[in-house]
Symmetry: C2
Subunit: 300 residues, 2 copies
DNA sequence: TCTAGCTATAGAGCTTTTTTATCGGCCCGT
DNA sequence: ACGGGCCGATAAAAAAGCTCTATAGCTAGA
């Protein structure tokens, strides 16, 4: 059965006249007649009664009519849905993100994305990078913004380098000193967050590699709490720069540079299943938006 | 766009494998590949990502999928609806009927029809023959059972001859007499029903042609009331045989034959729009059922 | 009776589709 | 490392179907 036959059926049903319907469809009348015959032959039932005045639906035709309309409408809507998806003017985008990205980087990006594509429905799922990777592999998310990871089934696009910076409360002795060494840091109470996250492992390795073992520590399970603890002078912390950008600007936290230690950072990337072909629709739109902007700069 | 392409898309989407899908659809693999390519070209977007393992839906494909399913389902359901209509195993039948037919003849017929085609939804619209004819011409009903009428746009199939019989209450003097003449009838109070119906005209013409003018009359607007009036000895009436079959059998009314007057009757036919082609589906089923039975015999 | 308007039909040409056969890549077991 | 097996893509020939022009057949209305 050809869609063209069903469309012809509808057009003739509407107009009751093959010639006019043919004209409206930009085909000749015999063509349309043939389509109708083919459709009737396939369905095994006359859909029209031929009269001197034109074509009238038979009972069978009347019975078939709503289904024909539904089918044509479905195809038309499907085309529209694809067009929407292509222009990203509508559709759905499901993102995965690591906690620090989700909280401090994504909001500003999503604000711009939502402004550019107001009809796109966006969903964000937050989790540790490893968990988000699994979501991606299970196709629960289309894109994920996580720390750089190695996996043969994904491709990564570098997003930004997220530095970990040492923050202290305003008025802390470190803030006045010209030089702060790693040994000085080790003697302070250190505040960590989320033992199960990659940050924890990263910072621990960092200290160990410098031969430093911070003794007094406090551990929180989220960055926001860690910041509060530092502000209440319960310790100092190594936190993602994006997570403290706001506090540094408001001078409610002060950044301290450790002179005798290398910069500590990790790469944040956006990852995507490698077997999904070229990005399209909302995904492509989001990636373009990322490409045009510096995610780390918009952290709030 | 070809339905076959959409079906191919669905089958491949389900199986993730062109070769298997092609096999299931009884075509060769290159055919199906070509269909997919044609569909993708028409939609301007890859629907599948080709991998070593087979075909995976792209985001675009996923967006299109529900519409494709809807379209195919609509066509499938449409086919089924036609098949149902053909076998009259389901569907809808809208009948028109004159009051006497609707009340006394149709119930028994519909009982049998409903037994034979339980899934057919039946609707009856009752009205005077002329009104029902208009309903038929406006296609508000598919068939109508009315008195024989002349109209170029309809075709009629004779159903039965409906005789008008003179009924009197049990114990009425006429019931005992061997001969009742038209003059005797004229001296009785006569009960008519529904001045606007064809019965009224018919009976009036009948008396006039015999040179009789019934003086005392009573007029009801429905047969059932007329029967009750006769039973309460308020008069005698000329009523359709089918309408009094039950009372005659139960001996709550008595039939009297007028010896010096011709039999009075009118033809009941089933009519149908002439431009509807050959009857099909529920209509054909109903007509067949009529053909096989004697409607007048089943009057209750 | 003629004309206008309707659909059906015939036959040629062309486009599209389908098929067979084959290619090129990749995975996996030996 | 290599070969068999499975994947989809491609080429080319054959087949099928579609669309066109031209025309027929029919009826209603002038």
């Amino acid at each position: 059965m050809l869609l063209a036959q069903v469309e012809g059926f509808l057009e003739v049903a509407r107009r009751g006249n093959v010639s006019r319907a043919a004209e409206a469809m930009f085909v000749t009348q015999p063509t349309l007649t043939a389509r109708l015959h083919a459709l009737e032959r396939e369905l095994g039932e006359p859909l029209f009664a031929r009269t001197r005045r034109g074509m009238r639906l038979t009972d069978a035709g009347r019975a078939f009519l709503p289904y024909a309309e539904r089918a044509i409408r479905a195809v038309r809507d499907g085309r529209q849905a694809l067009a929407d998806a292509r222009s990203a003017s509508a559709g759905r985008l499901v993102l995965g993100a690591a906690p620090a990205v989700s909280t401090y980087v994504l909001p500003a990006i999503l604000q711009r994305f939502a402004a550019a594509y107001p009809r796109v429905e966006v969903a964000v799922r937050t989790g540790h990078s490893e968990d988000v990777l699994q979501m991606l592999l299970r196709e629960e998310v289309q894109l994920a913004m996580v720390r750089a990871m190695r996996n043969p089934d994904i491709e990564s696009i570098p997003l930004y380098e997220e530095g970990l910076v040492l923050v202290v409360p305003p008025g802390h002795p470190f803030a006045q000193r010209s030089r702060v060494g790693i040994a000085d840091v080790a003697s302070e109470r250190l505040i960590f967050f989320d033992r199960t996250s990659s940050y924890y492992e990263l910072t621990q390795t960092f200290f160990l590699s410098l031969g430093v073992t911070p003794r007094e520590v406090m551990e929180l399970d989220n960055i926001e709490s860690a910041k509060k603890m530092v502000q209440r002078r319960l310790g100092i912390a190594l936190l993602p720069r994006t997570a403290v950008a706001g506090e540094l600007a408001a001078k409610t936290l002060t950044q301290v540079t450790v002179t005798d230690a290398p910069a500590l950072s990790q790469k944040i990337v956006v990852i995507r299943r490698r077997d999904q072909g070229r990005p399209s629709g909302t995904v492509a739109a989001f990636l373009n938006l990322l490409k045009e902007s510096d995610p780390a700069a918009v952290a709030s």
